[in-house]
Subunit: 343 residues, 4 copies
């Protein structure tokens, strides 16, 4: 029996076709700038989002942390939702790596508004840090896969521009957002100063994210990547997977979204479910009734080869992805329907 | 006409008696540990709060920032109310000086509870920073001078102890709290790992705060003070004022509290006031009705020799203190009563 | 014509056999601790050097920078030779990542002695940083591939132990050292608190280094790796190359050393050479006579398909490695012999 | 018997005249920018050195550390002599406060040359930190009071300008340099981007240094001072001493220099002296013969009411100053002449 691993879309493994492409990729020493496959990926991703240049990094945490360090200076502050991955799940890196303070907004399902951003901008007074950077996360992980539309992004970009604030996108699942909004990546380049595009989640590659921005920004980012130790030598094997994924694994994300909706509908009728957050993309977050602990639930589920994630008090997260097949969906639906907590 | 300066209790100037003591203090080179007056102040303050040792510093921001740096390590997080001076008004120093992240609680008028502190402790997981330090501010400045009682402090100290968290008090106005609660400083030493005691606010000295803790902590703090550049040479002149203030200016704080209550009662009947926060000590925070801007109000007031502080949208703060005399109170009450915004 | 790339041993690319192993490696999500190949590499490397645990990272710069951050605390100082890679070539990371000061020793060809280390230990006085960490680089890159013997290492370890200093090895080319000294890796574990072992230089893998230490240290290192963004998902493809390299590419380093000696002997008789540093392993550093600039030399060489590195004023570095074949050696010797700077 | 305290010129205490001026000074809350005496001192010092603005701070360590932080950004490097106070005696603050790396030059008695500075500038390459700042110390403490002349300063300033490097002066004893060189402070403003002027050493004030620079720099410095906790409230009492010192204690430094020369001549003939560094200003550094330890010497001296400083292996430092009177000089000369280590 195959395991339905719904803990995260990071668990995706390369398809045979992707693997084939990876290990026939031409490579070189990227620290000398000579890996042709890395260069091709960086260029391809930059073109896609209409930004000048790209930088391939070992993780989305690194692309985010580099962006934060590049956009800030000592005594700066970053404005973001309090649920943001950069604040919640990157080990305190905003402060640890950049010495930057945070102004935490309280958005709706992880999504912030222009008015919220305005309220987070500090007056020009030496008692306060310098407001320097605004970040969005699209889709929002803790928001349960909620997404921004282009007009929403444009309105926040406007506030940033007016107030001379840099604007960064944590695009850990940006293609899920684009597919769900039925939008293209091209316009993003005019709104964001930098974008972190993750390749190893829904897109299915084994390792890596690309940071995008203008040339001067990417030059600075390259320097910070070196200091973090993120410069890899013959990284073309990994980059090749990214190129393949951008060509082949974007449009199919709609299937993951459909599967997520089916799972949510299934849960709607389960007695152990207290409530479910709206499902917009590939993430389902729901609350268990008070009689059941997260651990009990996860163990019962795992006993039937379905894995999910503890997501805080009474909360469970499921994430659909490339490796969650139709057969697995059918199996999971059956399992969820018949889970019994009465014995 | 004398000016009633209610912008802050930091504006206090030494009385003639205090100045006399300062002028005649014996001094030495404190970097060599040889200033007898500094040593006497540090010992006196430590004894008062039943902690082992003290360190005289140029400001309360420095005593707080040193404590945060001494209690944390890289990748740490500080748990505190979002209104805290250490987070709001120290230039982003938690991140800038210590590289520490913040977990911001939303207390009632700046006061947090044991349950809130518990909710802010991160699970042991590399995605999160290390929860290391809890801080209180007593009284709370942005909370409008609200104060903690000893049992409230003891309950939070218990959570800290159970979870191996350091516990620091920002005592910018700790004597206002003690006087209002009718408590003594002695018991504080068993609850807090460190205390910052400010001397230049309600106590009326020109410069300085004392950081208190055990000997090892103060040794570490001394090293951090050196790196921040807070080591002063013949600082005994300033320390002498502190000794005088501890002996002479603590009990009289009750007068400031009484004056604050009279001002609040006066404002209660003023048509330009939307609402007033409860007044527990020497701080009054109130909101203006929507027809009047903070600037209009402050200018009208200043024109009659009363100074107050803009404290955010529609908000005004008044702080009573040693240099705000009975005559000034009478004058201010008259001014507040007769302010007219209809022409 | 194949290019003889002697700029660095980082340019090595996987052999077909290594690529085969990579391609068929079992993988999982290493951030969940579930990549079996990564786990196997970490365990294998730890066993080899007789330390408890390992951590696979994207680069040797990251393993070094993590070790420095894990061994130090704020206000610390690192004692190392001024030629060290950690100081010279990691972008100022000692200060930028760890806020640590450096005490720079002036060793002989990059090699320091117990007496030098002793001279670098600061007195216990708040004017000085806290001496916390000593690092060696074995072999020494800027020292031209010089290496330490075990007794030399043991003597420095003794000074560290006496003075409560952590002891880290930058083992970018540690196997070159071991092969040249005819020593085994096992004893290293008793002398060093941590070791960075690079796999992508002489060992020929595309990406990665392993950091070794005791369990508590590696746990701390894992946390720091997360904050730097060095956690990779399905990293087993890269780790598989490391396992293969440790099994198959260590003993053959002697060939690289022999080739380096032949190149050095060739250069000895070339009129454009001012002097050559002793050649102990796979690095050759020599000075050009004053008539010739580095650029002129490198261009003439490149025109004949031999690449070398500018290594400072009048200095050139050559590094032999896995991909520098016998045929390339023969070609390079001919080219070096017949270079003519008189027209 | 009065004690001749030659350990440092920091031990100076205010004269009765200075004390009189201090305690009659008008003061205000400097954090509000309202202390007239602080403002007057900042302006006076800025005018003196022909720079736009000044910032009064609790110590010379703080003025230096603020300047370093203001002139650098993350991943920067500071170029300075390895004997510099900023590197040797400020607790590792360059790294700890600014995350900046150091390029350490090896000057002659603490004095560096334009060629040395040039050699310390890093190539534009991501492996290196960004060269951002050059600092001089004038006079040089560890150099035994050696001083730079204006043409020497101008030549280094030229290198800085050509290479877009900021240029900071640690003027802990800048007036000793000016008096010895028979120069005026005015021209300094055109060469340095920032100057730290210490008031509490030879000038005899109890506390404080002034940082000078252009307006934008001082605005940035004010923000950093806040974050370090260096903002003081009614600091005018201390600033008044600075104004008095600039008016009355500069020209008399020549007396300290003369006394230093007399002490050096005395030591020249003492059998326990191995050698003496040249004496240019108010510092005398000499080596004891190998038979005598520093401790033995210092204790014998102290027994006769003369205090000196252990300055490293076999080394002793004496510093003359305002509080070292003619009578003390006579006494000290007698003591030095008759010290006997043969029993
Ligand atoms: Ca994946
Ligand atoms: Ca005051
Ligand atoms: Ca306002
Ligand atoms: Ca390689
Ligand atoms: Ca060169
Ligand atoms: Ca003094």
């Amino acid at each position: 029996m195959l395991i339905s691993d719904l803990r995260s879309d990071t668990v995706t493994r390369p398809t045979p076709e992707m693997l084939e492409v990876m290990f026939s990729a031409p490579v070189g020493d990227d620290v000398f700038g000579e890996d042709p496959t890395v260069n091709a990926l960086e260029e391809k991703a930059a073109n896609l989002f209409n930004l000048e240049a790209g930088l391939f990094c070992p993780s989305g945490t690194m692309t985010n942390q580099i962006a934060i360090k590049a956009h800030t200076e000592p005594l700066s502050e970053v404005i973001c939702d309090y649920t943001s991955h950069i604040y919640q799940y990157e080990g305190g890196g905003i402060a640890a790596n950049s010495g930057a303070s945070v102004y935490l907004l309280h958005g709706e399902r992880g999504k912030i508004t222009p008015a919220m951003v305005r309220s987070g901008i500090r007056p020009n007074n030496i008692h306060y840090p310098l407001s320097k950077l605004v970040t969005l996360e699209n889709t929002s992980n803790k928001g349960g896969g909620s997404f921004y539309t282009l007009p929403e992004i444009a309105a926040i970009a406007e506030v940033c521009r007016e107030n001379n604030l840099a604007f960064h996108l944590d695009g850990a699942r940006v293609f899920n957002a684009l597919v769900a909004a039925n939008e293209q990546p091209q316009p993003y380049g005019q709104f964001f100063d930098s974008i972190s595009v993750c390749l190893s989640k829904g897109l299915g590659t084994p390792v890596g994210s690309v940071l995008l921005g203008n040339k001067a920004f990417i030059q600075k980012a390259r320097r910070i990547r070196k200091v973090f130790g993120g410069g890899m030598r013959q990284a073309g094997y990994l980059a090749a997977a990214g190129i393949y994924a951008l060509d082949n694994h974007v449009n199919r994300l709609v299937e993951d979204h459909n599967k997520a909706k089916i799972l949510a509908e299934t849960l709607q009728n389960c007695s152990y479910v207290q409530n479910i957050q709206p499902v917009d993309t590939n993430i389902i977050i729901f609350k268990l009734t008070d009689q059941i602990t997260e651990n009990q639930f996860l163990q019962k589920l795992a006993a039937q080869n379905v894995l999910a994630l503890d997501f805080g008090p009474q909360s469970i997260r499921l994430v659909t992805h490339l490796d969650f097949t139709d057969a697995m969906l059918e199996h999971t639906v059956q399992v969820l329907r018949h889970l019994d907590f009465n014995n």
